[in-house]
Symmetry: C2
Subunit: 110 residues, 2 copies
Amino acid sequence: MIGQRINKLRLEKKISISELAERSGVAKSYISKLEKGTKANPSIQLLEKVADALEVTIDDILHDKAPAQEEEEIDKQWFSLIREAMASGVSKEQFQEFLEFNKWKIENKD
Amino acid sequence: MIGQRINKLRLEKKISISELAERSGVAKSYISKLEKGTKANPSIQLLEKVADALEVTIDDILHDKAPAQEEEEIDKQWFSLIREAMASGVSKEQFQEFLEFNKWKIENKD
DNA sequence: ATTTATTTATACGTTGTCCGATCATAGCAT
DNA sequence: ATGCTATGATCGGACAACGTATAAATAAAT
């Protein structure tokens, strides 16, 4: 579980266990055991050190994140619009109407 | 740090340390120490048990999330609409126009 | 005053974590 | 091929820290 994620993240970063151990300040033997799965219950402080060395968040280690980087970026742009929309009191229903109308508009564009 | 978050989340849920201990299966004396800060380096498995009992994610315990629970829920509903919008090819600009129009419409409603 | 919740103390079993040694693999020189 | 050396991964043992269980002391509440 958690070992696989660490292993995956480490390989993505193209460094060895020894290297990760050195950077994080964690014993390489322990990192090996974590990845191997013979130990699977690290403390959060240790996990934090490993996460830092891998330049990811603890969350990235706990549940393996769907990357989707570009898509996330776009979502953020939309997000500000959404906030504005919610603040101005536009309802979801109104937006849905708008959506349907636009779909129709696009289809009948030719 | 982490103790304060657990304490906060527990109080929000309006349960006692004993209750949390019972639900999570963690010794109440240890939970007390965690909240008090005399112990501050729990294992992730223990943390997971506490998180489950509090009905939050481990992330919620690690970095204290901007809560706004209801708002988050609404956001999710909006999000599905946004995805649909993006898929159907509606641009941000079009949406913004719609937004402006609706603001005006609301203002001149009387 | 009596209950209920929190903190602290003590003692103890379990395991997280480190250190050093060993094994595995690969490259390079002989 | 046969070694030698270097680097990475794994194993075994030792110790400190995690975590439990209980009781007692304190505080807060009804």
